[in-house]
């Protein structure tokens, strides 16, 4: 057993574990996080994805002792409860079925959009291809990524804080480079409410 200090979602944690312990188990069982989850333990599916230094990383095959730099989990995308545009797009598109894989989908999409804020359809398919979903929500995931890219692009130039998360800023625990205050969060919320509009029209449909 060794004492290992990790920085996760902006906070420091010291755990006492075998150095080879997969990061996933430390995040879930020692830090009580629910975003990353066990899917295969082989790095094949993406359920356990976290972002380390801007890279979507499979925490199930990452020894805890090898972690250098800030770890961001799904929980860390929404500091103070303000959803990241990707998370908002996921809600707007009503992406999940069971939702178990969506941690990996969202974290992989986050790293993808940080790297390439305006991906083509082919780049989305390629960038997301190793992140699996057994409810097969791929169609809505891809739509949501495009929606999120647009939300981030629309917000970025006008905003004092870049929503798009420039690659250099990706290691930050959240999506916002500006110091986060309740005022700035509220401003973002208003901007997004204006840009994205009411979430769903909720109209009564006439069915063919």
């Amino acid at each position: 057993m060794s004492k290992i200090t990790l920085r996760v979602n902006g906070n420091s944690h010291t755990v006492e574990v075998e150095p080879s312990t997969p990061l996933l188990y430390v995040l879930r069982n020692d830090l009580g996080l629910h975003g990353p989850r066990f899917g295969c333990g082989l790095g094949q599916c993406g359920a356990c994805a976290v972002i380390i230094n801007g890279v979507a990383t499979r925490s199930c095959i990452t020894p805890t002792s090898s972690v250098r730099g800030e770890v961001t989990t799904l929980e860390g995308l929404a500091p103070h409860g303000t959803l990241h545009p990707i998370q908002q797009a996921w809600i707007d598109e009503q992406v999940p079925q069971c939702g178990f894989c969506q941690n990996g989908q969202i974290m992989t999409a986050k790293a993808l959009l940080d790297r390439n804020p305006n991906p083509t359809d082919a780049q989305i398919r390629d960038g997301m291809n190793r992140t699996l979903c057994r409810c097969m929500t791929y169609y809505r995931i891809q739509t949501a990524i495009k929606r999120a890219a647009k939300m981030m692009a629309d917000a970025s130039p006008a905003s004092a804080c870049g929503y798009a998360g420039a690659p250099g800023a990706a290691a930050a625990p959240g999506w916002c480079a500006e110091p986060r205050t309740w005022e700035s969060e509220a401003r973002h919320q208003r901007q997004f409410a204006l840009r994205v509009g009411p979430q769903r029209k909720c109209k009564k449909e006439v069915i063919a």
């Binding site: 999940p96 079925q97 939702g99 398919r125 190793r130 992140t131 057994r134 449909e205």
Partner: protein, 791 residues
């Protein structure tokens, strides 16, 4: 911040659940209400002590609580496997109760606080269980109106109610809310009904035209907590002093445990115990990674069975065709197919093969069981939480009311998954260890040992007359489905099999017939069940997999209809419509009329050009200048219970690689009254893509002693790269009287799986002229077929 759903705090009132969450250091979240079912509907705080008697479905208080703040909580005995049924229940019940949708919450599936509606299964949530929900909500409205009438001093027919506020029509200043009338108090109203599905009060449900939220698409309430990481899933269940367990499965099917060398793991830090009984073995450690290590490291001597437990997956179909059936249900016969085939102008026949396919749940099976207070509480995502409770009580010989299951969200509840098995294992180990135990299967274990949809070998024969009319059709299926396991059976669940506590007589299993409304004068449909050599303790155990048997059967049936259309040189849509239109009569669900409407709607939405398949190609040879990518379209149609589906797939077939891409999908879907169109569309999309995964990728591969596809490389699934570019879902109301006030609502979780494999096969034929009769259509198999045909 996502606003808390009103009333959830009241619902959370001082329960064991809350204590459990507190002591394990996890905070209760105030939204995603049904995600974590956790409450005593009457606000009591007694569950910690137990016992846990069944909530009485004949009491209105078991279903609905109206709070003082004029919000309501609905308690239903279903589980939501990710199709949004919880949201739909709220829509239906809000409408009947006349309360605003966003003033309601829904709590589902925990055995001590919700009535036993059986959990999920059979796509019957909306079709069957929605009715008692509507009726009890209507009854609550009736009772509240009576109370309002007394309080306001006005007859009921002079009252109006809107969003939980009762007003006097002639003087709207006179009003009172539901919350003021009953907030926090019991209804004390007895309901009637011979069984839970028949539960009813005195009130009648509303006409379709009076429903307001039904037919709209409010967002699913469970989604925000699934995308911000705040949801507590079944995999997150923790308790003080909890330990972690991992199973150690026999390395080959049918192996007998000879000896365990416990010294091989005793030195692992955190080691607690090796538990074994019969051929069941588990290692238990303080920490999860320690249990994983111990399960890998433990030395166990096993004895292989004398005879191979099964043929290889390559030899499977020959074996099935040569086996003596274990049962043969009575065939369905119309006219005389033999005579008609003998007299037909043209006859064709074909054999179709579908492999075992697994659930291969995205998260391997898991559960946590807590044996505190001489009781057993199981935290599980099992879609049939009530069955798990009953099964575990029998298995552990505990009184039913000392066992409860807290249902929590988990991966893909698409039938009889290994979640059943993990729940029993956790409870057994918790009893053995005397501490809370969390069990989690590993990936290879899930892929190898979860339940499988049965393999099918189907022979089809058909005869056309001189005008190309279908005059005879014969369907003969063999399904490897002997000893099909049910849900949560204490004598078939895997741990019971391995421990030698299995039932004496295996279940006979089943083999299904096609579901269509074609009028064919001479038709014979027969099905036989066959068994593999190893019947018990086999990784090739069969159980329900999303739309059980449907994709297999319909692949054969609807591929062959396409073959007959091609033989008749007829357009596949016109050929089907002719068969549907050939009868004058319909059934009481109007399935013929609705089938015709659905097939037409699909063709119209796609922009179907009428012509026979295959599509004429400028050149049959790549070398002669044909394109590298061939395109085609195929249709398939079927129904599941009362839900009718027609699907059109447009494919690209790559001549160089054999890769098939389903580029475009159209689905026309009639499930009667639609509750939430957007949630329905997504459910249909998922079901179609799940079936495309089964068409293109999925096959349980095995040698003569074990499953060899044990991870996502050796047992592939559909990926982002396979996703269609366009999906169009058309929701059809094909009822002859579409505006009738009692239009029923049917199920939708599985029906769209059914025709899909055949639609893909028919599209590949249209593109290439090659008929693929063995699933899946993996690249190598398609490429070999293209090369063999010189395409």
């Amino acid at each position: 911040m996502i606003p808390p759903i009103p009333a959830i705090d009241a619902a959370l009132d001082a329960t064991t659940r809350r204590a459990f969450l507190k002591t394990s250091g996890m905070l209760v979240v105030g939204f995603g209400a049904a995600a974590v079912a956790r409450a005593n509907p009457l606000g009591g705080a007694l569950e910690a002590e137990g016992p846990y008697p069944d909530p009485d479905f004949r009491q209105l208080d078991s279903w609905i609580v109206v709070h003082a703040d004029n919000t309501a909580t609905f308690y239903v005995g279903k589980t939501d496997c990710g199709q949004g049924t919880g949201t739909s229940f709220r829509q239906m019940m809000s409408d009947e109760l006349d309360i605003a949708f966003d003033k309601t919450t829904c709590i589902m599936g925990s055995t001590d606080v919700t009535v036993d509606q059986g959990g999920s299964g059979g796509s019957d949530a909306i079709q069957v269980d929605g009715w008692p929900m509507r009726r009890v909500a209507a009854e609550a409205r009736r009772v509240l109106l009576e109370m309002g009438s007394a309080r306001l001093g006005a007859p009921i027919d002079e009252l109006a109610v809107h969003d939980g506020v009762i007003t006097v029509k002639s003087d709207p200043s006179k009003k009172i809310t539901y919350g003021d009338l009953i907030g926090g108090k019991r209804f004390n109203v007895t309901l009637t009904g011979n069984n839970i599905d028949a539960t009813t009060g005195v009130a009648k449900v509303k006409a379709v035209q009076e429903l307001n939220m039904v037919g709209r698409s409010p967002q699913r309430y469970d989604i925000p907590a699934k995308v911000d990481g705040s949801l507590t899933w079944a995999v997150d269940a923790k308790a003080p002093r909890m330990v972690h367990a991992r199973n150690v499965k026999p390395p080959v099917a049918g192996a007998r445990l000879v000896r365990i060398d416990e010294s091989s793991v005793r030195n692992i830090p955190g080691f607690v115990k090796v538990v074994s009984s019969g051929n069941y073995v588990a290692v238990v450690c303080e920490r999860e990674e320690q249990a994983v290590k111990a399960a890998r490291q433990i030395k166990i001597q096993w004895q292989k069975p004398a005879a191979p437990p099964f043929p290889t997956s390559e030899d499977l179909y020959d074996y099935m065709r040569g086996a003596t059936p274990t049962s043969s249900p009575r065939p369905s016969v119309t006219g005389n197919a033999d005579e008609a085939l003998a007299g037909a102008a043209k006859t064709i026949e074909a054999d179709y093969e579908v492999p075992f396919q697994g659930h291969t749940a995205f998260s391997p099976a898991h559960a946590m069981a807590d044996p505190s207070n001489d009781q057993m509480t199981i935290y599980s995502n099992d879609m049939k939480s009530y069955g798990l409770r009953n099964g575990v009580a029998q298995f552990l010989q505990m009184p039913r009311d000392r066992v409860r299951v807290v249902w929590m969200e988990g991966p893909q509840g698409y039938g009889r998954t290994a979640a059943d098995d993990a729940g029993f294992e956790a409870a057994f180990l918790a009893k053995e260890i005397g501490r809370p135990v969390r069990v989690q299967w590993m990936r290879d274990e899930e892929s190898a040992w979860d339940t499988k949809g049965p393999a099918y070998a189907v022979k089809m024969r058909g005869g056309l007359d001189g005008q190309g009319n279908l005059v005879a059709l014969e369907y003969t299926a063999r399904a490897a489905d002997y000893n099909h396991v049910g849900y949560n059976e204490p004598d078939t669940v895997l741990i019971a099999q391995l421990m030698g506590k299995r039932r004496a007589t295996p279940a006979s299993g089943g083999a299904s017939l096609p579901s269509d409304m074609y009028a064919i004068p001479n038709r014979r449909m027969a099905a036989h069940v066959v068994a593999l050599p190893l019947v018990w303790e086999t990784p090739l155990r069969t159980g329900n997999l999303r739309d059980p048997n449907g994709p297999q059967v319909t692949f054969a049936a609807e591929s062959f209809i396409d073959e007959l259309a091609a033989a008749a040189k007829a357009d596949p849509v016109e050929f089907r419509l002719k068969l549907l239109n050939a009868a004058a009569t319909d059934d009481e669900g109007f399935r013929r009329a609705r089938s015709i409407a659905v097939v037409k709607a699909a063709a119209q939405a796609y922009g179907w050009d009428t012509r026979p398949s295959p599509k004429p190609r400028p050149s049959t040879s790549l070398r002669a200048g044909g394109g590298r990518v061939l395109t085609g379209r195929g249709i398939s149609y079927s129904f599941r219970n009362q839900t009718i589906v027609a699907e059109i797939a447009e494919v690209e077939v790559n001549r160089d690689t054999g890769r098939v891409w389903v580029k475009r999908l159209v689905c026309a879907h009639d499930c009667g009254l639609v509750i939430n169109p957007e949630a329905l569309r997504r459910t249909i999309e998922g079901a179609m893509l799940h079936a495309i995964s089964r068409a293109l990728r999925e096959e349980v591969q095995f040698d003569t002693e074990k499953v060899t596809g044990v991870d996502w490389n050796s047992s592939p699934t559909l990926t982002h790269a396979d996703c269609p570019a366009t999906i169009d879902v058309v929701l059809v109301n094909g009822d002859p009287n579409p505006n009738r006030p009692d239009l029923p609502h049917y199920g939708a979780g599985e029906a769209a799986c059914k025709p899909m494999i055949a639609a893909v096969a028919n599209a590949i034929y249209d593109a290439t002229g090659i008929r693929l009769r063995r699933v899946p259509f993996r690249d190598a198999r398609v490429l070999a077929a293209l090369e063999a045909a010189g395409v």
